[in-house]
Structure formats: C-alpha cells, structure tokens
C-alpha cells in the first residue's frame, strides 16, 4: 500500500510568506505553502480468471464508483464493420436473459443511479456510481449485461436508425467532418483512421455483435476499478460471486502501421455555402510512457492549452479571426497525435492558417519565456488535485494509468515531473512532437471561397463531404441553360394559404404578367402570427431565361430588410438583407459574376409551370441565392404524379422535388393546361402552401 506525500518545489509557486499586517493588499497575495496531497492509496488483486481488481478506498461518503474496462475498443472492429462497438455498448443495457430493457432501467434508476457501457478507441467500459447499500445490485446488473445480454433484433434496428441519423447529422457538422478526415489522413489504414460509415453501420448484424462480444469481452487483460466506500476483501468477494465464472482471453492483435509523414499538404473538404472554415493541423506524436510527455504537455499549454495561451491570444484576441484556437497532445494506447485547431471566417482562412503554422515553428525555435512557463506549470500542477476529488475521478485516473502502463508511481510523481520541466526541455519536446513541415492539414469550408487562398499556402487536394475526390474545376459552377416552354407562362393571379400543423397561419398571393418578352412576377407573403410579411418582385426575360431585377422587402419581428439585385452581362450587383435564425438581419453587398442561365431563388416558383416537366424528368439549374451572394447548383426532379386536393379543387399534379438548397421542397404542378402550381410542401416540416383560388 503506497502512501506518498508530494514535496513540490516551493520556488515554482512563489514564496510561502503570508502578509502579517492587516492592510488590504493592492496586488494578488502570494501563494501559501502547498497543502499536502495524499494520493489515495490503491490495492491490486486478481481473480483466477485473470480479471485484475484495483480498489481505491475512500470512506468519506457512502458512495462507490465501479468501472470495468475491457480491451474491446473500436480498434478491434473487423474491417467493414466500423461502428460495431457502438452497437455492442448500446445494446448491452437493452435486454438480458432475465431482464428487459425497461427492467434494467427501472432497477438502476430505482436506486437513484445509472449504468452505462461506453465504447472508446482502445477500450470498452461499463460504469456506474451507486450508494454503498446498492453495490451488490450494481455488480449483479453489470455482470448481467456483460455476460447475459441478448441483443434483441428490434433494439438493434432502433440503434441502427439512431446511428444512421447521427451519421447524417455529422455531414452537416463541420467540426465532426474535420475530425473524421483528420483521423483518416493521419492514420490511414491503422484502425484509428477507420470510421463508421453508412455501409458499415448497415452491415452490422446480431451475429457480428455476438461474435465480437464472445471474442473480445474477456477477463484476461480487463481491469475492474472500484473506488469509494468499500475495501478489497468485499470487492474481491463480490467480483468472485458475480464475475468469477467469466472466462476467455481475447487474442492479441497487430495493427497496420499508420502512413509515414510526408511534406505538408492540405485536404480541403468542400462544404458549399459554409460561412466559416474549420482548420485542423497536426501530426503523429507520442506513445504512452514517453519520458518527454511532461515537457510536451507544458509546451502544448504554452502554445494553445487555454485562453491565456498563444494561439487564443493571437488568433482571437489580437486578430479577431476566430472564435477559438487551441491545441492538444493525445495519449491513447497506440501512437497519439498533436493537433491544433481553429474555426475562422472564410476571408481570413489563409491568414489564420499561415499564422497558426508560424506559431508552430516559433515554439520549436525559441524556448518559452519564464512568464509563460510559470503560467503553464501553475495551471497544470494546480489543477491536478481537482481531477481526483471524487471516487469516480480517482477510479478513472488510476484506471488510465494502469491500462496505458504508465507505471505505479505515475500519479504520485506527476506534479513533480511537470515542475521539473525546463524551458529548454519544453522546446526540445516540441521539436519531436510538432512538425509543421510534414503536417496533415484538413480544412472544411466552402471551396469556392477558400480554394485559391489555401493553394497559396500549400498543395491542396479536394474532396466533397462524402469523401469523393473533386478537382478545382468542380468548384466552379458551370452554366446550364434552363429550357422552358414560354407559352405555358401565362399572366395570372393565385392565392395560397399557408398551413402549419393543419391550421392556416398565413397567405401568399402571386401575380405574373408579361409584356414585350419580359416577365414580371410579384409575390406577397404574410404570416401574421410571426409578425412577418414579405414582398418580392422579379423581372426577367424568358427566351432564354435571363434574370433582370429582384427587389424584396421583408418585415419581421418589427425589423425591416431590403434586397435589391440587378443582373446584367454575367454580373449581379446590389445589396441583400436576410433574417437569420438568430433574429438578426444579415446584410451583404453583392458584386460578383453569375453564370449564364442562373436564376435568382425567388424566380423558381414563377418558372415552374413553364419547365419541361414529365414523369422521371430531372432538371439541373443554377440558383443564385441573394441571401448568401453565391450560386448553387440545384436539381428539380419529378418524382411522380399525384392526385392533390386543395381548397381550389382536386388536381392531377407532378410532384417536383427541389434539392441542393438548405430546405428541400416539393412542388405540385397541375398537369392540365394551363399548368398551375397548386401546392408546396417543405419536406420533413409541418408546413405547406395550398392553392385557394
């Protein structure tokens, strides 16, 4: 049993003198002597089946934290079944031979607690924290879900649906996309680089879940950490009773090596319309137990560990380029990485990246000054006790130390080793850990807006959010002529009702007139409940379709926004104001090129009756979005013919889906002449417009 007290160098934290006079100090009072930190002692034991037990006694409160960590992380997933461990963890609490999912929830919640299985890259962990009285119950439940989970088919399907929609949601999250492609770039075929995909999520079966559980969830190499109001003999007794019959030894695995470092280049993940760029820069760094870890952690703190570090101070406070900029050094079981990140506005993407790289070079070149070393050590040394305040925190620290093989004295000597790092050590460590000239750089953003800027920094490869390679030419919107049957576009006036949740909440009136080859379309939209009204006027030529002017006024929430755009000779100029979800109005000045045949977003509704609609038809069009000042390729696809009943009557109508914009829409256009728009649905939303007359 170890009981080691820290003797930390006093010099580091200032003199231990308290002021004696009772005057109010005008500068921050100096640090008092460090108070003793007795790291909670721990005891080790092993069951006959190989399961290792680690007990940290702490009897202050009647609380016990239990965590069982097994060598069954996602790195062991068979190829093509990425995401499998997510299913395993999710399904463990969804039914056993003797308990349904409801009974498991009810039992653990009945004692005021919860029970989780969590998948990680290296390990899979089952954990809970309970009052002392309920420790046997916790062991009973934990062993039940571990040894007797049934993985019911219907729960697998529910989990699959959730995972698939999470993957879908990930595509609209620039941060998640950046992390995914960064891992892939850095680790290649090494399992840390493999990620769940739609295909792999669909490939998981009950069989594959059971096979994995059988092969990998074994007591050999697993660690049970129990911390709190309990002792070793009680823990051993409970572990023996509930886990004594658990058998098995997971096979050792070897993993393919990650790719070798190569000269820095940039992977641009093209996300059209992105208002900001997410930048990740990094490289492979250290394995657990590396003696330079302490120096690297301090250097990392100086560079970008918090809001008083260089990256934050320079990129955010001094330049105002970013919402935040940080860096980190990871330490998983295999090789870890260094990574710096920043989210920046499109227009400063290149400047921010150049500055970030120059900060990486600077910290390799110059030993940090004393002031930064003191601040970094002060934080890292001072924050350590806060990480071992509760039994579950202690369990997690001790568990990590043990599983990564950091040595029995790691936690006891952690503060001293950090304190002993010199500025020179910190700089030396960065030379091993940070490699700006052979770094992986991933930028997620609007390629159209940032490609040229990035190309001036380093060679750029481009992919779309699905991972398909693109060329620089793919970023340029190519002209498509929009074919119309001008005869179908007749002067008329239509009234629509806007329906939400089955109730009318507003109206839209549209009017179209033609004179001398020019079409004028006006649209009035009013939703009284939201305090919103909008008037739009579009002027365009029809043969061929060429935009003229667009004027729009929106009143919303007591504010007024105006948009005026003029199209002429391949350019559009003007000013656009549009309400944002935040209630603010975004205003942009527009003076940009626009491809031939592009239509302004407000003109689509007017043109629908004149398009060459037929069953199965798919019409590509370029849409200039005034609210964003950019052109987006979109598609109108006829997905079928439906009988549509609206207040104005029953119509046989083409269902035409518009995709490529933020909100997919379904338009219903009557097939009889004259063709009319009879209904608009916002796909996936409880909103529609129906023709009244």
């Amino acid at each position: 049993m170890k009981r080691i007290t820290f003797g930390l160098s006093m010099a580091l934290l200032g003199a231990a003198v308290l002021p004696l006079e009772a005057q109010y100090p005008t500068t921050p009072p100096p640090a008092a002597p460090l108070r003793r930190l007795e790291f909670p002692p721990f005891q080790l034991a092993q069951l006959n089946n190989g399961l290792e037990l680690l007990v940290v006694e702490n009897h202050e409160l009647p609380v016990v934290s239990i965590s069982l960590t097994m060598r069954a992380g996602s790195k062991y997933e068979p190829e093509g079944l990425e995401g499998l461990t997510g299913f395993v963890a999710e399904l463990m609490t969804k039914g056993t031979e003797s308990r349904t999912a409801e009974q498991i929830a009810e039992t653990i919640e009945g004692v005021g607690s919860s029970l989780f299985a969590a998948p990680g890259g290296d390990f899979l962990t089952i954990s809970t924290t309970v009052l002392t009285d309920y420790v046997p119950l916790a062991f009973d439940l934990a062993s039940d879900i571990l040894l007797r989970a049934t993985f019911p088919e219907e729960e697998i399907e529910l989990a699959r649906t959730r995972f698939l929609s999470a993957l879908q949601a990930e595509k609209s999250s620039p941060g998640a996309l950046a992390a995914r492609y960064f891992a892939r770039e850095l680790y290649g075929d090494h399992p840390y680089g493999r990620q769940p995909s739609e295909a792999s999520t669909k490939a998981v079966t009950r069989e594959s879940i059971r096979d994995f559980v059988k092969a990998r969830l074994s007591p050999q190499g697993a660690l049970l950490v129990v911390a709190g109001d309990i002792d070793l003999s009680r823990t051993r007794e409970l572990a023996q009773r509930y886990l004594g019959d658990w058998r098995g030894a997971a096979p050792a695995e070897t993993f393919p090596a990650p790719p070798r470092a190569r000269p820095t280049d940039i992977l641009l993940v093209h996300r059209p319309g992105s208002a900001q760029s997410n930048i990740l820069v990094g490289n492979l760094a250290m394995r657990p137990g590396d003696p330079q870890y302490y120096a690297a952690v301090i250097a990392n703190r100086v560079l970008g560990g918090g809001s008083d570090a260089r990256l934050f101070k320079i990129l955010r406070e001094a330049r105002g380029w970013t919402y935040g900029a940080y860096c980190r050094v990871t330490r998983p079981q295999e090789i870890g990485y260094f990574q710096a990140n920043a989210e920046v506005r499109n227009e400063v993407t290149d400047s921010a990246l150049v500055e970030l790289l120059s900060q990486l070079r600077r910290i390799r070149a110059e030993a940090p000054p004393d002031s930064e070393m003191t601040a970094a050590k002060g934080y890292l040394v001072g924050s350590f006790p806060r990480q071992i305040e509760t039994p579950s925190q202690i369990a997690s620290q001790v568990s990590t130390t043990r599983l990564l093989g950091l040595g029995d004295d790691y936690l006891q000597t952690y503060r001293e080793r950090l304190s002993a790092v010199s500025a020179q050590d910190a700089m030396q460590a960065t030379r091993r850990v940070i490699h700006p000239d052979s770094a992986v750089i991933v930028v997620v953003g609007d390629g159209q807006a940032i490609y040229d800027k990035l190309a001036s920094v380093a060679p750029v490869r481009i992919i779309d959010v699905e991972g398909n390679p693109l060329t620089a030419d793919d970023l340029i919107v190519t002209a498509v002529a929009l074919e119309v049957d001008a005869a179908r576009l007749v002067a008329r006036r239509d009234s629509f009702e806007m329906i939400a949740q089955g109730s009318p909440i507003g109206f839209q009136v549209t009017e179209l007139s033609r004179a001398n080859g020019t079409v004028v379309y006006t649209e009035t939209l009013s939703i009284a409940m939201f305090g919103m009204s909008q008037e739009t006027r579009v002027e365009m030529a029809i043969e061929p379709v060429t935009m003229g002017k667009v004027d729009q006024t929106i009143e919303f929430g007591g504010q007024k926004a105006e948009t005026h755009l003029a199209f002429s000779e391949g350019r559009v100029t003007g000013h656009a104001e549009s309400p944002q979800p935040t209630g603010e109005f975004k205003a942009i000045d527009i003076d940009t090129t626009v491809v031939e045949g592009a239509v302004e977003e407000n003109a689509i509704q007017a043109l629908l009756p004149a398009l060459l609609l037929a069953e199965g038809a798919s019409i590509a069009l370029n849409v200039f979005a005034g609210s964003e000042g950019t052109t987006k390729p979109m598609t109108l696809k006829v997905t079928g013919v439906e009988e549509v009943t609206v207040p104005a009557g029953t119509f046989s109508a083409f269902r035409v889906e518009l995709t490529g914009g933020e909100q997919p829409l379904a338009f219903f256009v009557s097939r009889d002449t004259p063709r009319r728009l009879v209904k608009i649905e916002a796909i996936g939303q409880p909103f529609s417009f129906v023709l009244v007359q």
């Binding site: 921050p28 009945g110 005021g112 009285d133 918090g306 934080y379 001072g382 549009s578």
Partner: protein, 449 residues
C-alpha cells in the same frame, strides 16, 4: 454566462429506503459588521478549496424597463476592478490551476472559484476586490452589453426549444402583478440598449454591497487563516442600503391558456404544459418534486415509457420543476416524433397528468423517486464546489441554514396521498399554460428556397 439548465434527475425499484445516508455537512457561520454573511465548512480530503459568493439579486429584482441587468452584471464582474486588470481575474485563477465562473438566475447571482488549497488567499482577494471596487465604466458596460447580445444569439436564440422553455413559460406570470417572474433572466435587449452607465452604477451600489452577499468557503483550509483573510480583505468594505425585495402576486387556478410559439431552429414540433407551482420553501414543493421525478425523470419515468418507448409519438418527454424563492413552474415537455402532431402529444401529456389526479402514484414509484433524491443528495456532496452551492442554497431559499441537516427527511416522509393532493391542487388545467412549439424553419423568410 447564463446557464440554461435542463435538470434531469433520475429515479426507480421497491428497495426499502434507509434514512441514515444523509451526510452531515458541518459549518461555522458569522456576519461581519458590514453585514457580509460568512459560512465556512472544512473538508480536508483533497487540497482544494472553493470560494463562493452569492449576491442576493437576480432577474426577479429588476424593475420594468430595466430587465437584463442582473445578468449583465455577471459579465461586468469579470471586467476588472481597482487592482485587477480586465481578464486578469480569470487569468490569475487559471495560472493557479483553478476554475472560475458565475451564473445568474431569477433569485440570485453567484460567483465561484475552485483552487488548490494554498491559493485560497487569491480567490478571496479577487472576490473582495470586485466587491469593493468594480470598474463600472462606459467602455466596459457597452462592451459587455454587446457580449450579452452575442450570448443571447448563441446560447438562447441559437438553440432549438430553449427560447420556448425559457421565455415561453414566463407567460404564466402577469407582468402587472408579478413583473419579477414575467420576464426571462437574459431580459430585453431594448432595456439594455436604453440603459445608461449611471443606472449600472446604481445597481451595483444597491445590490453588490456586503450586506447583500454571502461568502462561503469549503475545503482544505484552517478556519483561523480564512477568518483572518476575510477580515483583512472584506472588513472595511462599506455597508450599502438595504435592497428592496421584489413583489410578486399570483393567483393559482386563474384559467387555462394556450399559446403558439414559433421556433426557428426546431425541426420537430413540441408541447409544454406549464403549471404554476409554489415557492421552493413551500411545504407542497417536496411532493411536487417527487412527482416530477416519477412523471418525467429517467428512462423508466411515466412520460418516457408512455410517449417515447411505447407509443413512439415523442422523441423526448420530461418534466422540469424550478427551485425559486417566489412562485415557480412545473412543466411537462414533449417533442413530437417525425409524423406526429402536437395535438397527439398534448393529449398524451394531459392524459398522463389526469391519470395521476385520478389514480395517484404507486408505492413502488414513490420509493423509487425517494431513492433517487437520497442518492442525488449524496452524489451532490462529493466536491467542495457542490457543498458550497448546497450551503448557499439553504442560506437563501430555506427558512434556516440548519435545514440542510433535515431537508432529505422531509422528502422521505412524503406519502402517496400527499402527491395526489398536490397534483389535485396544482396540476389542473385552470392552473396551466400550454405552449405549442411550431418549427418555423420552412417559414423563414428570405428567398425561402
């Protein structure tokens, strides 16, 4: 740093409840001559200390036309004082390895630091410096007003359902008889725009005086050292005027209301049924809180089982209950699943509440809820920060700080009959406001497409 918490406690089985588990929190308390209340509680298990200051001022203290001040102040308090430069408060704490933050709610504003035990002095000094000499300047004020607006955009307006829950439920209160709770903590941006730096200074002088504050220190320290430092740092801060307390008149059972709330970020419609609940210290509160757990906390709660798991009409369904000095809320919430309407989930929420009124709750459910409270009570005392907040809570929201020793017993004594009684008293349609949350994503203006 507005905290929009959605507290979800957990609950379930028929295990017998033992009353012995409540751990006694020992403390000393005293008051300085200038009125500053001090609570000290030692815990030597880890060399950590938490310094917590609660000012007895929240959004409920704001006057008509002056909403948003309490929260703005929370920001102002990090903008420097006579001996502390802007941002240096946070940086000093960080360099010592500590954490620091502040939050505002209806009834109080709190500030706290958790530090290595040998830096107790710097935590106490930083709090004292801003209590005695906050830099109330036009520049700081204007700058933080912008920050608050940005925060509103990011934390409130940019989150689906949050504005409906936070601002929608204030509609339960009539602003003419109870302005304190009829506006949200973040307040009106127009009021903030209209404010002058003199108003801000007056607010500081009235509410940020030692006689309106409670200082709590929890952790590894020697009481004599702490007392000496507190005398030295806080002793000569002048006492302020006594602050007036807010007035709120409500009438229970005034009639059912229903409002439609447009939510620009929500993709699925939702329903909130909010009932007017008693103040936190009211004897009925415990039974209502236990009921809120039975109905709407955890996977095995009634709402989650009925709406989410069985009928699959909702993606989430929970109950939230406020802990306020004045009258509060008991709110049942459901977000509809794809393809289901608010009519369906509203009817299901009503049905679940009606079932409690008609049949009450089972002994098993009650035991499960009590176990949950007992466990949360212990789990909530694992850190110096949590203990400090607990002490402050009792000092502010209960008759006496000593109730910290007996409060849990009160929950354990609640019977199923008590629960049915409070349900009949508060959870009736004429005491409710229903908010129908309508996603407006598709209705958003602009080009629409």
């Amino acid at each position: 740093m507005l905290r929009v918490a959605i507290p979800v406690a957990l609950a379930v089985t028929c295990t017998a409840v033992s009353l012995s588990a409540q751990q006694r929190i020992e403390f000393d308390r005293y008051t300085l001559p200038n009125g500053l209340r001090v609570i000290l509680s030692q815990d030597h298990s880890t060399p950590i200390v938490t310094v917590s200051v609660w000012y007895n001022v929240g959004s409920a203290d704001e006057l008509l036309g002056r909403s948003g001040f309490a929260h703005l102040f929370e920001h102002m308090m990090f903008q420097g004082s006579e001996h502390v430069q802007k941002r240096e408060h946070t940086n000093t704490i960080q360099r010592a390895g500590g954490t620091v933050n502040g939050t505002t709610n209806e009834d109080r504003t709190n500030y706290f630091e958790t530090l290595p035990a040998n830096r107790l002095n710097v935590g106490l000094w930083l709090e004292a410096d801003r209590m005695r000499s906050l830099a109330v300047t036009t520049e700081n004020f204007e700058n933080q007003r912008d920050v608050v607006k940005e925060e509103r955009r990011l934390r409130l307006d940019n989150q689906p359902y949050t504005p409906a829950i936070i601002e929608g439920t204030t509609l339960l209160f009539d602003s003419t008889t109870c302005f304190p709770y009829s506006h949200s903590v973040i307040g009106s941006m127009d009021d903030l725009d209209a404010a002058q730096v003199e108003d801000v200074q007056a607010f500081f002088d009235l509410y940020y005086a030692p006689n309106n504050a409670t200082l709590t220190v929890v952790g590894d320290f020697e009481p004599a050292d702490a007392k000496r430092l507190i005398d030295q740092y806080y002793g000569d801060i002048p006492r302020g005027r006594d602050a007036p307390r807010p007035e709120c008149q409500v009438t229970y059972g005034q009639g059912a209301g229903e409002r439609v709330w447009e939510d620009k970020l929500a993709t699925l419609p939702g329903v909130i049924i909010a009932y007017l609940a008693p103040p936190h210290a009211h004897p009925d509160t415990r039974a209502l809180q236990l009921l809120s757990t039975i109905l709407g906390a955890g996977e095995s709660s009634r709402l989650n089982r009925a709406l989410v798991r069985d009928a699959k009409t909702a993606v989430v369904s929970v109950v939230q209950m406020s802990s306020r000095r004045g009258p509060g809320l008991f709110a049942a919430i459901a977000i509809a699943n794809q393809g289901f309407t608010t009519d369906t989930i509203k009817a299901q929420l009503q049905e679940q509440v009606a079932k409690v009124l008609a049949e009450g709750v089972t002994e098993q459910e009650l035991t499960k809820a009590k176990n949950s409270f007992r466990a949360q009570d212990v789990f909530g005392r694992q850190t110096t920060f949590a203990i400090a907040e607990e002490l402050q809570h009792f000092a502010h929201f209960h008759e006496s700080l000593d109730e910290i020793h007996t409060d849990l017993d009160g929950y354990m004594q609640v019977t199923a009959a008590d629960i049915q009684r409070v349900a009949e008293k508060y959870l009736v349609p004429e005491n409710s406001l229903t908010i129908i949350i309508v996603p407006a994503t598709a209705a958003g203006a602009g080009g629409t497409y």
